[in-house]
Symmetry: C2
Subunit: 160 residues, 2 copies
């Protein structure tokens, strides 16, 4: 991060993707693949969940940031359907998470880094484009991509 951004960081409110990136950093510190997510109720701006990958910590292969965000959001709203909610996640969702997003009827998905190997939104099976997909959220990719991809690169470099 260049010196020129310091002033901006002091005066600017962190964005929701900034908060997802904070979660991704916390995941890396915990030895998890650095992916973070924020689930927000669009109409109110209320944050329903701040989550990160916790696969190793929870001994749970489904504990991706997105799944944990959806589960927490559903618990908060008392409903398995989250039609008025938006998800911010630092990495393009995998098929498991993309399908969960469709089941939850999320309104929008903002993601950071694209994932040609594991992604299922704009790569791989492109789940939301399948004729059998019942709900396609609006998708905005590449938000905070540089930072999100940098975290992942750094994490895998350090482990090699």
């Amino acid at each position: 991060m260049g010196m020129g951004r310091i002033g901006a960081r002091e005066t600017k409110e962190p964005t929701l993707m900034d908060r997802a990136l904070d979660q991704a950093r916390a995941a890396a510190v915990a030895g998890e693949v650095p992916v973070g997510a924020v689930l927000v109720e669009a109409a109110t701006g209320r944050i329903l969940a701040l989550t990160r990958n916790r696969i190793e910590e929870l001994k749970d292969p489904t504990a991706h940031a997105e799944i944990l965000a959806i589960r927490a959001g559903s618990a908060a709203l008392g409903s398995p359907r989250l039609a008025g909610c938006d998800l911010y996640v630092t990495l393009e969702p995998c098929p498991m998470c993309a399908a969960a997003i469709a089941f939850a009827r999320l309104r929008r998905v903002y993601y950071g880094a694209g994932d040609p190997k594991g992604g299922a939104v704009d790569h791989g099976v492109r789940l939301f484009d399948q004729p059998t997909c019942h709900h396609r959220p609006e998708v905005y990719g590449g938000i905070g991509e540089t930072e999100a991809a940098g975290l992942l690169r750094e994490f895998f470099r350090a482990r090699r």
Copy 2:
């Protein structure tokens, strides 16, 4: 179920798919789409999880029988990887569950009814056949299919 089967049912040990079908019936009684699952440790035959769809009950869109079985199995074995385990499930897994099965490295998947609309194993995105899929379990479809499909048909007919 015909009268002719009563004798057989009295003397025969229930199979693992029979137990998954019992879970599916319990789901229907609870107003959930009737899908049930059993996770078993292959080497010992130890049943790690008996689960059913609990989406409405838990207010959780990810609470499919397979996801709950994998989470329970991971908790029982203290690991997010279940390489020596087999899953019996009454319906062909969806993309969310198929991806979770791959992440969990399950050895085998036995499923009942095929699901042309929602399945992701032998229909739809055929997730395990994707080049980006890191683990493909052995898959055996059509086990207990008639009964599994009948339960689903009956459930949706009653709700119309």
